[in-house]
């Protein structure tokens, strides 16, 4: 195993004043890399474990006025890595691109952006410490992703260092990973945020990219550790919002997990991540789907809430209610 100070992570966002992902005011580190592919994922820039370039076409100020990206591309763009249409950069050929990032580092208009920053453990902790005075008695750091287990060594070392600095630690993870790794990390976790997306393993595989057996097994273990935890359920219309799935989820929380959960948050579906798919040259998996209106969605989520409550599960809609 590498020494802690040699471990580097790739972080795609350091989000200060996070108020929904853990108790109190927090700084959230979003780590790159995730083994799962939820169809509704709002953070596609977290898929890959490496730094990559994003392109916001409408921010390009025009290659005639600027053109730094073309000048700096190592092959002078002779192979047409960057496509120019109507004087602006419209796409990147990611097969040909060596990901040297020079174009994005020079782009004055933030049309080309770098998704992900490589940082050492101490650099990450330094970012966390910036808002220390805002954390009060409840807040602290939340490590999220992507899936933080994808960079488990970095996650472990950052949590360890934060604990040592007296910072409250929270991990937000699907826990789709080997137990021996999870166990090491949870030794340094003061709080856990996790989720259950579907109780039917086939559906889980279809929507998320893997069966749910490993996740549920790990959650069962976590429920008995005594670390406070919150379970989230993103409520996606036509995917996991059936009463049957709600009953199965509630039953699992009660029977397998002993209903030790602090709060179960039912999160309304949104598509705020769509534009990020475009910046990565990816197709949004749910493109073109028609959704029920918000009134209808509210009704369905309320039905799920009632089912959960009928099982005695401490369910709430959204993440606006305080957790301790």
């Amino acid at each position: 195993m590498k020494k802690a100070k040699e471990i580097k992570g790739i972080v795609f966002n350091v989000q200060r004043y996070t108020v929904h992902d853990g108790p109190g005011t927090r700084t959230e580190l979003f780590l790159k890399g995730c083994p799962l592919r939820c169809l509704w994922c709002a953070n596609p820039e977290g898929f890959h474990r490496y730094v990559e370039i994003g392109l916001y076409v409408d921010r390009c100020i025009g290659v005639d006025k600027c053109g730094y990206c073309l000048d700096l591309c190592p092959d002078g763009n002779s192979r047409g890595i960057l496509t120019i249409e109507n004087n602006v950069i419209t796409s990147i050929d990611r097969e040909l691109c060596s990901n040297c990032l020079k174009c994005a580092q020079a782009c004055p208009g933030n049309a080309l952006v770098v998704w992900g920053e490589t940082m050492t453990v101490s650099e990450a902790v330094r970012e966390v410490l910036k808002d220390r005075e805002f954390y009060g008695s409840k807040g602290g750091v939340t490590i999220s992703g992507g899936e933080p287990l994808a960079q488990w060594e970095f996650t472990l070392e950052v949590m360890k260092a934060c604990k040592k600095a007296g910072i409250h630690t929270c991990i937000e993870s699907t826990f789709y990973g080997p137990w021996n790794v999870i166990e090491q990390i949870l030794e340094y976790a003061d709080y856990i945020y996790t989720d259950i997306k579907h109780m039917d393993s086939d559906k889980h595989k279809e929507y998320i990219g893997a069966g749910n057996e490993l996740i549920l097994e790990n959650l069962t273990r976590i429920s008995k550790m005594g670390i406070p935890y919150v379970i989230r359920m993103p409520v996606i219309p036509y995917h996991n919002d059936s009463p049957e799935n709600a009953r199965a989820t509630a039953a699992f929380i009660v029977d397998a997990m002993g209903n030790t959960v602090r709060q179960v948050q039912l999160l309304a579906f949104h598509e705020y991540g769509r534009v990020k798919y475009d910046t990565l040259g990816l197709k949004y998996p749910l493109e073109g789907r028609k959704w029920p209106d918000r009134v209808e969605q509210k009704a369905r989520i309320t039905e799920i809430l009632d089912i959960m409550k009928s099982y005695g599960v401490p369910a709430v809609i959204g993440s606006n209610e305080s957790v301790d």
Partner: protein
Amino acid sequence: MAITNTMLEYGVEPFDQDWGTGKSGMGDGNFSPYPRINKLRKIFLDTPHTIDEKRAVIWTETLKNNVEKPYIVRCAEAFREVLRRVPLYINENLILGDMAAPPRSAPVFPEFSYDWFVEEFDSAPFNERDGDRFEYTKETEEILKSLHPYWKGRTVHDLAKSLMTDEELKGEATYGKALFFPGNYFFGGVGHCSPRFELLFEKGWKGIREKIEKAQAALDLSTPEGVQKNNFYRAELIAVEAISIYIQRYVDEARKLASETKDEQRKKELLNCAKVCERIVEDPPTDFWEALQMAWFITVAILIESNGHSIAYGRFDQYMYPYYKKAIAEGSYTKDFMQELIECFWIKVCELTKIRDAGSTQAFGGVEIGGPSLTLGGVTPGGEDAVNELSFMGIDALAHLRLQAPWVTTRHHPNQPYEWWVKCTKVAKMGFGLPSFFNDEVIIPSMVNRGRAIEDARDYNALGCVEPDAGGREYGWHDMCFFNMNKVFELALNNGRCLNCNDTCPRYEFCAGAGKQLGIPTGSLADFKTFEEVKEAYDKQMKHWVDCLVGFCNSCDIAHQTRKPLPYLSLLIEDCIEKGIDVTAGGARYNFIGPQGLAAANVGDGLAAIKKLIFEEKKITGAEMLDALKKDWEGYEAMHALVNSSKVPHYGNDDLYADELARFAALSYCKHLEKRPTAHGGIFQPGLYPVSGNIPAGANNWATPDGRKAGEPTADGVSPVHTSRGSHDISGPTAVVKSVSTLDHCIASNGTLLNMKFTPSTLAGEVGDENFINMMQVYFQRKGMHNQINVISREVLEDAVKNPEQYKGLIVRVAGYSAFFTELDPSLQQDLIERTELEF
């Protein structure tokens, strides 16, 4: 008076009542549990703004007819005539009294400046304005025009202008190149003060009269001083007679209406109103209703004497509390009835209006009176927690009315009950910009540092936008001018010349055309060898323009003393009667002039761009950037994008590189200004806040290195920069709070303003409250002075621009105060939309 555990109730609503987040402007308008209030609210919203000529006519006639007397006595007589003769208006409000015009109608004050007013009838009719529209009849127009010949050359403005040097005028907005904008004080009244309610309640008008008579009797009339002071006391006695006449007229009018109505309930109500007014014609108030009614008459008459705005309602929860306690103890009024009375009072404040010239509507926005602040919470003069039930009831009244006034400002200190934080947060996050939050821990020491006694400083009320004032003891000339630091920066980069200097400028022939320049020569960005030279040029240019500003302000000060003494206001501010000196001439205990600097963030970001790109990375030369600025970035699009990008450090992101430069920019202004003497016997003190002066300031400011294009608004208060290419603060509210608290708020003792905008999801629910309160506490621990919040989503705002009718009740905070969104000028609406949306 601290809340103890035994006190089960706070206001009429639970202290943690949640009214939703970002919900202002939604709903049926029936928010109050009191039907009378909802009805009055609807009438208020449906009443158009009008112009009323009666005050102007009576004032002019009286002044014309008493020419032989001392000027201050003539002014007092004119005031008395107005109060004796203007028509009275009584509706179902339980508080009576108007500003010599019907509700939502603007009286006219020709004595301050009149040429523009008469000219705008023809050049830019008040009833054809885009925003800030006023209706009037042809007859009103003709009458008001007929007064014009008398006032030519006789106004405060005419005298002030004649006192100024060309050097001073060329920095001013109407006659020069707009380094400073003195709209209020150059064209209108001073205002910006609050009366000493407690003393007036204690003595009643009779007691005040006796105090004057006693002082008068003690004069030695053989001395020149005695003769002078005797004139002052003569005027004071006329003023006190005038206010009693006015109140008595309402007694008579209410009785008359009572005798005419067939509605028994209404008859009883009118008779009660008459009885309340009758008690305070001469004598002190004895109960809650009488005290409230008296507070209203005291303040509304200030607005009849002068059109200076920002007459504050002081520490409402303090001066009213003895009457509240008495009513509860004796069972004379229920808590609910007192709440209804408070809401009646709130509506009266909303009904006040003021007409401004077309230019000033851009700077101040809205058609409301301006600055009707009312302060709740804080500490007592002895330093103990002062929060009480009335503090909570005042916030409940805001929640029940959801209107733009009064501007409720809340004071905060470490020893207050947590419930007070919760109460204020719950209403602030509804999204109509009220209440705002003030930090006792920085304001009180900063006031003491300017020479106020600690007890007086602890008893401060916030006034106007954000100005701390030792209520009823001070004539502070708060808000005298906006001063654009970024225009100084523009001149500092171009050897004292405007960056767009050319022969179409109206000043060209006696400026550049005559081989001169606007400012002083301090070098050019093309030639500076080190970054230090850039800072030195800015500081030298700043010193020059602050000198001009000070001279300008003192000319205005002398003109007000000479042409507009205020005998009525002098009754209300402590030490005027004791000293025998009018408030305009230095009668108050504390005297200041407080012009406020704006755009520190633009200068800071501009300096950061110069330092980083020219002197450190050497990516561009000073000559190139200067050329880019002169061409308004035309042909330099990449540079424009770059200075606006996060590749250059920007103020507002918790990055000391930029924050220290913004601090330097603001300190240069503050240091050159503070402690200079004022004509009415005090000192200058700087503020750092904009009202909405950042719009006209930007309109007169060429492209600057922070990435503004020519004409774009500057940053607002101590808030970070946002240009048409986007917001410069991208690191969330904690970073903003940390950056803003690197500035020295204590030296800016005339107030600083931070304006934070939130999307509703950030503040919703318990989680939103907890985190917001926590953030505010840290900001205040770090010696930040003030904060106010907008909680509105972009969708709401854009839709409101397109469909104003559907958003009639939507209120937004415009830098220090609230106005109705649909009444704002389109450029202000756009500016609001572009403000940072703190999405996190």
